[in-house]
Amino acid sequence: MRAMVLCACAVLALAGCAARETRTADATTRAVYDDNLDAVTGSFTPDLAKQVTRAQLGALSDLMHTKGDYRGITETGTEPDGAYDFRADFSNGTLTVKMKIDADGRISGYRVLPTS
């Protein structure tokens, strides 16, 4: 009985982690879509946040807007280096989002790939 409770707690903890990463990816993607620089860099590591320019953010936002309205994000897998893969859904298509999170829970890498 005790073992089953521990297993359930472990499963819930893992699910909670996955949900947290998905929430982070969703919030960041929505911020990029809205061209909100503060919201985007707010979840980035300080080093990554310094790399972001308004022009770059605007270009990425424009890329997302070519796909229509943002609908949400779904985790599709993880990679050996710890990066998470997501499928961002829009009204007229999808984009692939890759995100890497450091030990403090901050985003250390965020990239968007056009889906062919």
Binding site: V52, Q56, S108, R111
Partner: protein, 157 residues
């Protein structure tokens, strides 16, 4: 036409025969009257048959002419339809050419924008906003293949 003349000559001959001098009547009147009636009926039957043949020929000619006209109309309709389809195809090709030209312009414009975005951000380091990222794609046979895809964003993944 010849057949009509033969009939006419026969009728005239029959009329003249009736007008020819008559021998002293020794036969009975009933037989004479019957012969006249039979001859007239035969002539009428010949004329009716002839008219029937002529009208049949006219009907066949009219039917053949109508058939040819129908074939001609069908061919004309088919040609018109094909011509219209060709014109539509030509218009479609023209539209596609315009669309390709527009997309080419858009690609060039985006390439220029990307090139302008390449300078470094506030960090002063070389930016990798546009980079090649490996993407794992499923293959049709059930496996996976890694392809390099242009990605946009910050950090290395």
């Amino acid at each position: 036409m010849k057949f009509s003349r033969v009939i006419g000559a026969t009728l005239i001959a029959a009329l003249l025969a009736t007008l020819a001098p008559q021998a002293p009547v020794s036969a009975d009147g009933a037989a004479s009257t019957r012969n006249i009636i039979l001859g007239g009926a035969a002539a009428a039957l010949i004329i009716i048959n002839h008219n029937k043949k002529v009208h049949e020929r006219y009907a066949e000619d009219a039917a053949a002419e109508a058939s040819l006209a129908a074939q001609r109309d069908n061919a004309q309709a088919a040609y018109t339809s094909e011509k219209k389809a060709y014109e539509n195809e030509a218009a479609l090709v023209s539209d596609l050419k315009r669309e390709v030209a527009y997309q080419h312009d858009q690609v060039d414009q985006l390439r220029r924008q990307v090139a302008a975005l390449q300078p470094s951000g506030a960090s002063g380091r070389e930016s990798n906003f546009v980079a090649q990222t490996t993407l794992v794609k499923p293959t049709p046979v059930g496996g996976e293949s890694q392809v390099a895809v242009t990605s946009y964003g910050w950090g290395s993944i």
